[in-house]
Subunit: 180 residues, 2 copies
C-alpha cells in the first residue's frame, strides 16, 4: 500500500478518478453528510441504519476519541469514496469492533474495501487489539459481504438465528491478531 | 406479583424494609447517582462499567425514549434497591437487549432479581419484542448470574471465546417470546 498517510496540508489535490488515493483518519464536519451519501449509495441499508452511520461521525466530532469511534476515510482527489468505522469494544481488554465499512457504489470493484480493511486492522493492532469482531446478516443480500470477510481472513464465530428478524440471523465474524 | 404499578402521586411512602415494593419506569434525576451506588455495591463491575450504567440513565433523562434505553426501578419506601435497563436492539425487527440488571448488595436474596426480570420481559413483550438477549461473562465470578438466567428460561445461544480477555468468553443468552 503506497497510497496511504494523511495528506500534508500543502498537497495539491487532483479531482476525479485521476487523483491519488489518500487514507486519512481525522473526521471533518463535511464527513457526516458525505458518509450518509456513501452509505445510501450502496442501497444496502435501511434509513435508520443510514442515520446511525452519520451519527457516529457526528459523535466523534463532538466528543473526540472519548466517543470510542475511530475512522479511516479514503479520499480520491477532493472526493471521499469510502470509509470504515471501528473502536474498542467497551468492557473488554483486547477486543475491537468494526462497526461500518462502505464504499461508494460508483467506486466499488477496485479493491478499496480491502485497502480500508487492512488499514483498519493495522490501527487496531497498533492500539493493542487482539480480536476483531464484525457482525453482519445471514440474508442473501449480504452474501458478497460475508464472502469478502471470509476472503480476508475472518471466520464465523457464532450465528444468532432470527436475530434481525424471522429467518435473518446475525453472523459474527472474528479475526484473531498476533501479539504486537 | 402484587407489588407492581407506578405509585400514585399521593401514595404515602414508608421507609426502610417495611415499605411496599413499588416498580416504576420513569427515570428521575436522582436515579443516576443511585444506580451508580447500586451497581458499585454489587462489587461485580469495573469502574468504567459503573460509569456506563450511570450514563445510560443520564442519556435517557436527556433524550427521552429516543435514547433507546428503558428502565424498571424497584423502590422500597424511599429507597431504590434495584433496577433493570433494556431496549430495542438497533436495526432489528423484534429483538431486545437487557443491558443491565442489578440489586443492591444488602437487598439480595429476596427474589427481587426475578421480579425485575419478569416486569422487564412483560414490557418487552408488550412492545412487540420476540427475542431477548442477555450477554454475560463465562468467568467463575458470573456463575450465579448464568445460573439465574438458566433458571429463568434463558438458553445459551452462543459463546465467543476470549471476548472480554484471555480465557474470558462472552456468553450470549436468549429467550424467545410467543407472539402477542
Amino acid at each position: 500500500m503506497s497510497h496511504d498517510g494523511n495528506p500534508p496540508p500543502s498537497a495539491p489535490r487532483a479531482s476525479g478518478d485521476a487523483g491519488e488515493l489518500i487514507l486519512r483518519e481525522e473526521p471533518r464536519p463535511e464527513d457526516g453528510p458525505r458518509i450518509r451519501e456513501i452509505v445510501e449509495s450502496t442501497k444496502f441499508f435501511h434509513p435508520y441504519e443510514v442515520e446511525i452511520a452519520q451519527e457516529l461521525v457526528e459523535e466523534r466530532l463532538a466528543e473526540g476519541i472519548g466517543s470510542g469511534y475511530f475512522f479511516v476515510f479514503a479520499d480520491r482527489g477532493d472526493r471521499t469514496i469510502g470509509y470504515s468505522c471501528y473502536g474498542p469494544t467497551p468492557c473488554t481488554a483486547w477486543t475491537y469492533d468494526i462497526y461500518w465499512m462502505a464504499v461508494d457504489q460508483q467506486d466499488r470493484g477496485g479493491g478499496l474495501g480491502r485497502i480500508l480493511l487492512e488499514r483498519t486492522e493495522q490501527r487496531i493492532h497498533e492500539m493493542g487489539g487482539r480480536r476483531i469482531y464484525i457482525e453482519t446478516s445471514s440474508s442473501e443480500k449480504y452474501l458478497p459481504t460475508r464472502a469478502f470477510y471470509e476472503r480476508t481472513g475472518y471466520r464465523v464465530d457464532a450465528v444468532l438465528e432470527d436475530f434481525y428478524g424471522p429467518g435473518d440471523a446475525k453472523v459474527i465474524f472474528v479475526k484473531v491478531l498476533p501479539p504486537l
